[in-house]
């Protein structure tokens, strides 16, 4: 059974059909890639899954339950975690504080109890701090726990963001361009981390990603969107060589010499990786 599933989700904004009959499945232990040119509806699909947008038709299912009508934070409580394209962190706070913010649902006391300073809230806070540190340790970010987020380089921020979402204890991680702003080496390390997360915690992952070598290495299955429609799906290699996909990315016939040159370049990138 798939953990996360969208069934023929369609959404319109005014006259623009942002997504048409998008059906995606993420199975247990699976890492799924979503690719497509800019404006293909990838982030829109994520927004329908996490609840920022309600599809005009179609349903979103999580562990077999229809969650289409739930609000964003309710979906998080069920086990959906998500990162953002432009880094979703509280910039004025430290890395550790960000993780503690993400453990909102694990803080088992009322706001009022917290405000009045009941003794057990102090104990819970201590426990949350320890838990945050454990997550940071796993992500190899232990030594920047006290650093304020605002000053960190972009690539590190992306890792902190993944750590933050992990702290919400998700069953499925939705990653929106996790490797953007990273060099090839950093991206490779990110791939290691993702595979590690799956192995250690059994987290299923769906990620929007442009970095082809990363997608080919870690993804079990890939969906390619274009103009809000599903263009192709299948194993990473199949999708990458799919003529429609190549055309969508390059806007030209696949036998065009420029396209061939571009393909060769991509090929080379994959090999060097």
């Amino acid at each position: 059974m798939s953990v996360l599933e969208t069934r023929e989700c369609t959404i319109r904004f005014g006259g623009v059909q942002a997504a048409t009959d998008v059906s995606i499945k993420v199975g247990e232990w699976e890492i799924v890639g979503i690719i497509g040119p800019n404006g293909a509806g990838k982030t829109t699909t994520f927004n329908m899954i996490t609840g920022f947008y309600k599809p005009n038709s179609g349903t979103v299912r999580f562990n077999g339950v229809d969650i289409t009508e739930l609000s964003v934070h309710e979906r998080t409580a069920l086990g959906l975690g998500r990162t953002f394209q432009n880094v979703g962190l509280v910039k004025g706070s430290t890395v550790r504080e960000n993780l503690k913010t993400a453990q909102h649902l694990h803080a088992e006391y009322g706001v009022v109890a917290g405000m009045l300073g009941f003794p057990r809230t102090f104990r819970t806070e201590k426990w949350l701090t320890d838990r945050a540190e454990a997550v940071l340790e796993i992500m190899g970010l232990g030594d920047i726990a006290d650093t304020r987020v605002a000053g960190l380089p972009y690539g590190v921020l992306k890792r902190v963001e993944v750590a933050t979402v992990l702290a919400t204890d998700p069953d499925v991680l939705l990653l929106d361009e996790p490797s953007s702003g990273m060099g090839p080496e950093e991206a490779h390390r990110l791939g290691d981390t993702l595979l590690e997360l799956r192995k250690e915690f059994g987290i299923a992952i769906a990620m929007i990603e442009h970095h082809v070598p990363l997608v080919v290495r870690v993804c079990d299955y890939v969906y390619c969107l274009n103009f809000g429609e599903m263009l192709a799906e299948g194993k990473p290699e199949e999708v990458r060589n799919h003529p429609e996909v190549v055309r969508a990315y390059l806007g030209e016939e696949a036998d065009n010499p420029i396209v061939q040159a571009a393909e060769a370049a991509i090929e080379e990138l994959v090999e060097t990786d």
Partner: protein
């Protein structure tokens, strides 16, 4: 990210020269003398707040009481302006309604003072809840306009319902037993301020505060972290409303009478200015800033004498010598306030809290570092909310 500790790295750590940002690699542990010095400063501040007022006369004590009450109101506004990024230009109504409610409960209903304070806090919470519900729909400038209209509306209508407010004659609000002298009441106000500081501190150290900071920065991110954005926006408004209601009740009894024209729009303006100049999200800053604005009129009217040199200084009479219209002490907050606000926005977005940071950091056991700007960054965009 593992940093290898090489012998050289160790050596530089021992010397501990500050890096380009002026940060030291190692936490500082003050010597015994260092702690003693800090102790002396803490004692001086405690003396100023706790013992000095004992020797002053009654009219001064009302003023000090007002300074403490302003601090409570500043902290109330800080919850909205600092933690949620929402402005309230109608806070005079929150405070005023709290004041009238308490005076009414005590003078007309004959209820004990503490019941009256509780009623004021509940009424403050309810008003804030309504305003908070509106803020979920309308934000920024238009929300500011709504709070502005609400404040002025309350001023013109609610404050003049004869039955509850005593009309233009006002309502008596006696000093409560067993705090029946201005001196005792001052200490009661201090106790309430301590309670407000405690609640505010614990709020920001627990999940509620973290939720507020996250949703101020980005409601979408907050929601994906499992935070109920609507609920926590309302929580912030209610907390602010409770603080404002409490401030209002104390305001009433501190002056022993409530008259509607005390709580006019000018007051709301001063509240916003004192909170921002004090420093958003800085408790110390907000308290100092609020107290400063409460005492400003007095500082200007006061006749300073320097017996050794035989000098007399009165700022008001100096101001009167300036050409142009007279600047009375009453208008001072509205002239000096915007000037200080400009300096805050341009030079010190963290307000007084940021400027005091070298001192407060030192008191906490850090090195005295004049360039210390604290770990809480207040961006100018915040204050322009």
């Amino acid at each position: 990210m593992a940093t290898e500790v090489t012998p050289e790295a160790d050596e530089t750590a021992l010397v501990d020269t500050p890096d380009e940002h002026g940060h030291h690699a190692q936490p500082h542990t003050p010597s015994t003398a260092g702690w003693a010095g800090r102790g002396v400063v803490v004692l001086l501040i405690s003396w100023l707040v706790l013992l000095f007022p004992l020797s002053r006369d009654v009219s001064d004590l009302r003023l000090y009481g007002l300074a403490v009450i302003y601090a409570i109101i500043g902290l109330s506004l800080n919850v909205l302006l600092g933690y949620t990024g929402q402005i309230s230009l109608g806070h005079q109504a929150f405070v005023g309604i709290g004041a009238f409610a308490s005076a009414y409960m005590v003078s007309v209903q004959g209820q004990p003072f503490f019941v009256a304070v509780l009623v004021s806090m509940v009424i403050g919470a309810l008003q804030a809840l309504v305003l908070g519900a509106i803020s979920l729909r309308v934000r920024g400038l238009y929300f500011a306009l709504i709070t502005l209209s609400y404040g002025i509306m309350a001023e013109g209508t609610l404050f003049n319902i004869e039955k509850y407010t005593g009309g233009s004659a006002g309502q008596a609000a006696p000093l409560p037993e067993p705090f029946e002298t201005p001196h005792k009441f001052y200490y009661l106000c201090l106790l309430f301020l301590a309670a407000v500081v405690w609640v505010d501190w614990r709020l920001m150290k627990t999940k509620g505060g973290r939720a507020l900071l996250a949703l101020r920065e980005n409601p979408r991110v907050a929601a994906t972290l499992g935070i109920d954005v609507k609920l926590y926006t309302l929580v912030a408004f209610v907390v602010s409303g409770v603080f404002a209601g409490l401030g209002g009740a104390l305001f009433a009894h501190n002056s022993e009478i409530v008259v509607s024209n005390t709580y006019e729009f000018r007051l709301a303006l001063v509240f916003v200015i004192m909170t921002t100049v004090g420093g958003l999200r800085s408790r110390t800053g907000v308290i100092v800033g609020s107290a400063f604005f409460a005492l400003l009129g007095y500082l200007i009217e006061h006749e300073y004498t320097f017996p050794l040199v035989g000098w007399h200084l009165n700022i008001e009479s100096l101001l009167a010598k300036l050409p142009g219209p007279d600047l009375t002490a009453e208008l001072a907050p509205l002239v000096l306030g915007p000037l200080l606000l400009l300096i805050t926005l341009i030079q010190y977005p963290g307000g007084i809290g940021q400027q005091l940071r070298p001192l407060t950091g030192w008191l906490r056991g850090n090195r005295f570092d004049i360039h210390d700007r604290g770990d809480k960054e207040v961006v100018v965009a915040d204050v322009r909310a």
